[in-house]
Assembly symmetry: D2
């Protein structure tokens, strides 16, 4: 039975598992000096261009924090949406590792704008205030919303103009690419992103995320930072080969498309149930809905998922690369039963 | 000519300077094992009770950060007003030294309430979120407002109930005590404050602040934390004797009363000038006002002060222990001239 | 062709790969609330007793640093051998994450003694000095040497007596257990170890290490520390199931025995080659030898390995769970050729 | 009665106290935008050249740590003598604030050489090891020894050659200048020092040290680092004016000469007492001696001082700018009595 709690409840995609098997041949030098890592880096250069440099870490929080470590010093601050994963869901990892302040700004479904960032720049030059040096956006946002290319370009240009570095948390970027039907580069490099956290774990990998530095010079000392951050993988080939399998084929986008399609179906079925209201635009693989707390409790006996906003109450349901129409039907049926009781 | 930019533009009170002279006799063991430190600690026990423990550091930012270091671990967060000095005016010192997240909440003139804090406690028990462990209030606030004893009690009781530690930034607590006409203990220990930053520098000392731990056990390892935080004063006697001179007499409260009175006078005079609007309640030694930017520029040619909120525009004027009625008259006259041009 | 550079050049043991396959069934809640994690924790309780608590992280450096995080505060120091992995091979990760000082003491083949630790304790109580709070030993050491149970007991008793916490880096503890023919508990819990880094990656896992807290109370806030340290695994089941497969059977000890046996064979064959001197006792799966630099260069054209001490010169060769007698024969033959040229 | 425990047991020199009085006139803008700070910076440019930049902090530990903060990143290490103040007497402040590893090397009376540093550079380029980036020397050393100009030049050239930055802890540099009879620049800038901690507190100031950056570019972001490090002085004029008084006249060197002369006298008198052995060259204002523990205890009843090395036992006696021949005579007499009993 499949869960709608999070896309990380899904397993490992069969093609990825197969690649892991194949990588398990003989010996390989550790820490990245192996052929799978070499190939995975090439694969990502294929997506982001020859000037880009990709490195691998274990998980998304580390991808975000280490990517930002290349952009800010401790006395500088990172501007992000109040809802950003780095701001809410990393237990202060950025503050502790970077020593930097995170400044949350108002947002719409997790999306921020130059207008929201601009007022913070008045603190520049005053040593009493953390100095804004980087902006971090999440595509798609933690609330399932999408930045359009124009919205991203506007932020990218603003950052260039204001000498701010731009980081993108792309934990679910495959879902964004599928929804916008654009290339990975179009959503990142081409809009002015300096550093990207390229998600893998939520899209069918066993573990592992990539940090893509879009320009030379940004990753000069990265390998030392990664080691000190406890993110240097010893048997790197097993992490790299997963990226090779996913981004060296269309698997990444197919998985994103599937999850998005199932979310649309789920929203449609759930929205049709009396008393259930879909509360946010369904643009990727997240569905937010409000329903009575009693029905939530009943439904939770069959399916585990998270209550996002208890006061409303609002719940979050997520689909994944392996969600089937059957899963959605079963879930919708259970939802209906829960609402009827 | 006196400044209205900040109470730290004032000098050292003559009685404090006199005490520094007298302490400059022969040799004394360093790092706090001297008679002046012993006496200063006794003097503060006189204010806060025998169960309290006071320690000295160089400045207010350190008093705040080291006080909080006794209350939170890196994975825990500190809740404060968005306008709090620790959140805005310490260049990320708390984040860097504590490794902790600061969470700013909505406020009225810098004052927060249990209602504003409560929603943050839902994150408790979820390892993805910084765990709320301490609340920090500023008395009076950075906007010159005062918490009433009842407002502080409400926060104190809420913290006890919710197992949150309570820190008070008392950089200008003498002004608060003067305004509320209550003892230092009544505003701190008696309302449930665990740790107090007791201000000295803004009230006539040359340098130095005290951290007062209201209960035994809180300062067990303080002296190691202070040394590692680069705040252990070698010739401690010169810092301690200033506290002896100020808090062993009525000097602290007299200075607070004087500054407050001059602020009231300034607000009255300035408020009477056409086009100048006093924008916040004048409860201690800060006066906030709005006036045309052009007049601000003109006035700044005679008196240096800060523009607090450029969009409005709103300015901040502060009085100090040595502000005279003449100073205020001269400033008000200059203000009138600036508005007339 | 197999490498003798490090035991992390070996791949994933077939039984572990098989377990990963089997775990790849349907959905599972993330972050450790899955049946494999539950079982893996039980399996480790079987080894270390019901009072122990095990948690999983991605790699050995994190196991060491997070284990120590439960034992020291930033103003406290960790005492270890100058050669300890935490002191030499973690790029300052302990200093950065803990904020603590590491103090290296003299050693014999990586082994330290109470006599070497005792002089450091004179700094206790002086706030100018980092306060010794924990001792870290590596079993077997980075130089392949073994502590006897009596040597460990002596350190354990000294630590208890002196109120020092004892950490053990057990990245290769399976090799130690195989060599001493004792249980994991006998070498750790029973000699006074408080926290153990239990190695997996160097003994046939794909990734993952366990931190075993030997007493209740030590891991109270571990899950928050782990998240803030960027070590909370989202799809935990895939990490846990590897520990289940390895420590729920005899695989761990068999792998250790095999690697040790092959090291003895390698030492015998290599030691028989004219001009090659085995420089340290071969007690586990590491062989240290000295030979002319020219021969080293020649041999390196066939086999990659590390020069440990260039001045001597001394090299390190390591065997792993999958090293065969054939591998050793081929290596010894190549060594002979290299020495003959 | 004067102490021989440390030169920080002495008080404030009358000329410095006088300057503090004179600075206490009217109002001044805080944080360094005052005329005394402007003048003090000019005074130090007079010593170190127009290309130098000086900044002020509260104390020596901060001067060292913030100076080093301009030279290393967290994954880089600082090489120093095992006896260095930064390594032994700052309770891990460098590790905590910098996140960097300190690596102590063998020394002679606290002096290190290129030969002692060179072997550590082999770790360069290996991400597993902290990367050596800076060398820190103390002039004079914590053991009272002096580097000759040639010894310093040798280290400076080695550092330039090896692309290492050079920091000097000059907490007692006035004593060194007096002993070597050279200018401050000759001992620092001219031998290749990048950043100097210029001591004040041990030579007659009430508080305060300067950090002198010898080249433009090194202090670009210093003021933010200082604020985040809790070292930005609000009433800066009182700190600056002390440097103006001391380094704008010959007071600094006269104080150093006096303390050194008294140390020589003390060594002569003490060395003449039967059973007392002067254990180290007396080159500045420290005298190290060995004598029976019982005599130490007796002498301590009259004079407080530190036992440096209990096993020997070896004691440290320090003279200061205000030590008189009478003080030395009285101390020598007490020493004799202690030895006779």
């Amino acid at each position: 039975m499949r869960s709608f709690a999070s896309d990380n409840n899904a397993g490992v995609h069969p093609q990825v598992m197969e690649a892991l098997q194949q990588a398990n041949e003989g010996h390989a030098v550790g820490y990245g000096a192996d052929v799978h890592t070499e190939r995975a880096v090439e694969v990502l250069k294929g997506h982001f261009g020859p000037q880009s440099e990709a490195h691998f870490v274990f998980l998304g929080t580390a991808a975000n924090v280490l990517g930002l470590a290349a952009l800010v010093r401790p006395y500088q601050s990172v501007i992000c949406a109040e809802t950003a994963h780095i701001n809410n869901d990393e237990c202060g990892a950025p503050e502790r590792f970077l020593g930097s302040k995170l400044v949350g700004v108002p947002h719409t479904d997790g999306k921020i704008t130059p207008e929201a960032i601009a007022p913070l720049l008045e603190s520049r030059g005053f040593e009493h205030h953390s100095q804004p040096a980087a902006v971090s956006v999440t595509q798609p946002t933690e609330l399932g919303a999408l930045y359009s290319l124009d919205e991203l370009k506007a932020i990218g240009e603003f950052c260039k103009q204001e000498n701010l570095r731009l980081h993108m948390d792309g934990a679910r970027i495959a879902n964004a690419a599928a929804a916008l039907d654009v290339s990975l580069a179009a959503m990142t490099r081409d809009v002015g992103v300096d550093v990207l956290s390229l998600g893998g774990g939520k899209n069918g990998l066993m573990y592992g995320e990539a940090i893509v530095f879009m320009r030379p010079g940004l990753d000069t000392d990265f390998r030392y930072v990664r080691k000190q951050a406890m993110q240097l993988v010893s048997k790197m080939r097993y992490l790299s080969v997963q990226f090779e399998a996913m981004f060296g084929t269309d698997l990444w986008i197919e998985n994103g498309q599937r999850a998005n399609a199932m979310a649309r179906l789920l929203a449609e079925k759930a929205g049709a149930v009396d008393g259930v209201e879909i509360t946010r635009p369904v643009e990727t693989n997240a569905v937010f809905a409000s329903m009575p707390m009693q029905a939530i409790e009943t439904l939770k006996q069959e399916f585990f998922f998270y209550v996002w906003e208890p006061t409303r109450p609002e719940v979050r349901w997520m689909t994944s690369f392996d969600t089937t129409e059957d899963d959605v039907e079963r879930f919708a049926a259970a939802l209906k039963r829960a609402m009827d009781t």
